[in-house]
């Protein structure tokens, strides 16, 4: 499948490189507007081309600063870059302060960069599916690289990892507690470790600790995570960081690795959708069914136990109705 230009106006505009349309469509995806669904369907055939790279790590380790530098690095190679920065929402008001917004020294007219902030809550349908769809829009819009920044927080990262082709975990010297965090999950996520703020004391020690940790672990699907020292503020190590990403991408390109990964992910996504659909239909059937209400009463009267009642309903509803 490929090539057919979309008919939905917003989707067409995105393909034409209209940034306002792209921004609008992202908002619609965030709130699961039906118009977004249509556009996503039409744009899907144009996805799968962008390199999607995740950056995650504890609060304040310099993820945005690194994104900044990576944008500079990639632009100097002539590659276009989109960024999705996900920030946590306030558990109290549901509101959020997103930022400081990533800021690049870029030409005002540079259309090769697009930056979007997203709140982690208030995403109807969940953060990971929303992020995946937003990344697809950016991919279909033609960006060569999509960088996804998230604050390290366990589950979210694991889910976001399923979107990226390479995941960078950002840490800083004097890990201490961070090493615990590693054990708790970040270690499972990393294709590349970046020790940022390596301009500070303890950087060399931190790097050695990580290399040791990586050497202890078993390689995941044949890949042993790379460890890179960098400083976003100086800057140094940025070329090395991107080279590590490239080497992981090259690794994926060997044999059928990338295809296998893609298949695995899409299978999970499709399965999810089929399940959702089945659940929705079943819910409709149950709510419309009088015998279900009767079974509830039987259970309430202790004449039937819930499991037997469920089984009965299943057998009954499997029978064609007359």
């Amino acid at each position: 499948m490929n090539g057919r230009e979309p008919r939905a106006p917003l989707a067409r505009a995105v393909r034409r490189g209209d940034r306002r349309a792209l921004a609008r469509l992202i908002s619609l995806v965030e709130r699961r507007d039906p118009a977004a669904d249509r556009a996503l369907r039409e744009l899907y055939s144009f996805t799968g081309r962008a390199r999607v790279v995740g950056l995650t790590g504890p609060l304040g380790v310099g993820k945005s600063s690194l994104v900044n530098r990576l944008i500079g690095h990639l632009r100097s190679q002539g590659r276009s870059v989109a960024v999705v920065a996900v920030d946590p929402s306030s558990p109290f008001s549901g509101g959020s302060v997103l930022g400081d917004r990533i800021r690049i020294e870029r030409e005002d007219a540079d259309t090769g960069v697009f930056i979007r902030s997203m709140a982690s809550r208030g995403q109807s349908g969940g953060l990971a599916p929303t992020t995946r769809d937003v990344v697809r829009l950016l991919d279909a819009a033609g960006f060569d690289v999509v960088l996804v920044e998230t604050v390290g927080s366990g589950q979210v990262d694991v889910e976001i990892r399923e979107i990226a082709s390479t995941s960078i975990v950002v840490l800083i010297p004097h890990l201490g507690d961070e090493v615990q965090t590693l054990k708790a999950g970040l270690f499972e996520i990393a294709d590349v470790f970046c020790v940022n703020k390596s301009d500070l004391d303890g950087a060399e020690q931190a790097r050695r600790d990580l290399v040791e940790l990586v050497a202890l672990g078993a390689p995941r699907h044949g890949w042993r995570p790379k460890v890179v020292s960098a400083s976003a503020s100086q800057p140094f190590g940025i070329d090395e960081l991107w080279a590590a990403v490239e080497s992981h991408e090259a690794f994926l390109d060997e044999g059928t690795r990338r295809a296998d990964r893609d298949r695995h992910r899409l299978r999970a996504e499709l399965f999810e959708l089929v399940l959702d659909d089945a659940a929705r239909r079943l819910r409709g059937a149950v709510e419309a069914d009088r015998t279900f209400a009767e079974l509830v009463e039987e259970v309430r009267a202790r004449r039937l136990d819930p499991r037997t009642a469920a089984e009965r309903w299943r057998r009954r509803s499997a029978r064609p109705r007359g």
């Binding site: 940034r19 306002r20 921004a23 609008r24 992202i26 908002s27 965030e30 709130r31 699961r32 507007d33 039906p34 929402s89 306030s90 109290f92 008001s93 549901g94 509101g95 959020s96 302060v97 997103l98 930022g99 400081d100 917004r101 800021r103 005002d108 697009f114 930056i115 979007r116 902030s117 709140a119 208030g122 109807s124 349908g125 959702d276 929705r280």
Partner: protein, 138 residues
């Protein structure tokens, strides 16, 4: 299942154009808007008008708030308005805060700025005005 919702949070870009390095006020406002349930994109210090226009478009915000203490408001704010117009984005309302004399505030409003908040304005007033400018007053 996800429902399409009208109740998507109001998105506001808060920016500080110009060279002064004080963003206490802007941050206080940003937090108040967040506590009122809004999504605030905080653009940080020393943004150029062009950067602000770009951010407003890419972030698809409902409003732009500009905080200016340097006295350069009559120069910077019209440039943001003009930039938005040039990008066909003049539908995005702009409000301003900071030390802005009444006479200038009147001129800015004539140019299209929707509200100007002086140093004494209460946070409640700001939150309410932002809601009503966004067309979502409760």
């Amino acid at each position: 299942m996800p429902k399409a919702s009208k109740s998507a949070p109001i998105r506001v870009l808060i920016a500080k154009p110009g060279l002064d390095g004080h963003d206490r006020g802007a941050k206080v406002v940003a937090r108040a808007l967040r506590d009122a349930g809004m999504e605030v994109i905080y653009a940080g210090l020393r943004q150029t008008p062009a950067e602000i226009v770009r951010a407003a478009i890419e972030e698809d915000v409902d409003l732009v708030g500009l905080s200016i203490l340097s006295g350069a408001h009559m120069e910077l704010i019209p440039r943001v308005l003009k930039g938005l117009r040039a990008e066909h984005a003049s539908r995005i309302p702009v409000f301003a805060g900071g030390i802005i004399p009444d006479e200038d505030a009147r001129r800015l409003k004539r140019l299209g700025v929707r509200a100007v908040f002086g140093p004494g304005t209460s946070l409640e007033t700001i939150v309410e005005s932002v809601r009503s400018i966004a067309g979502r007053s409760s």
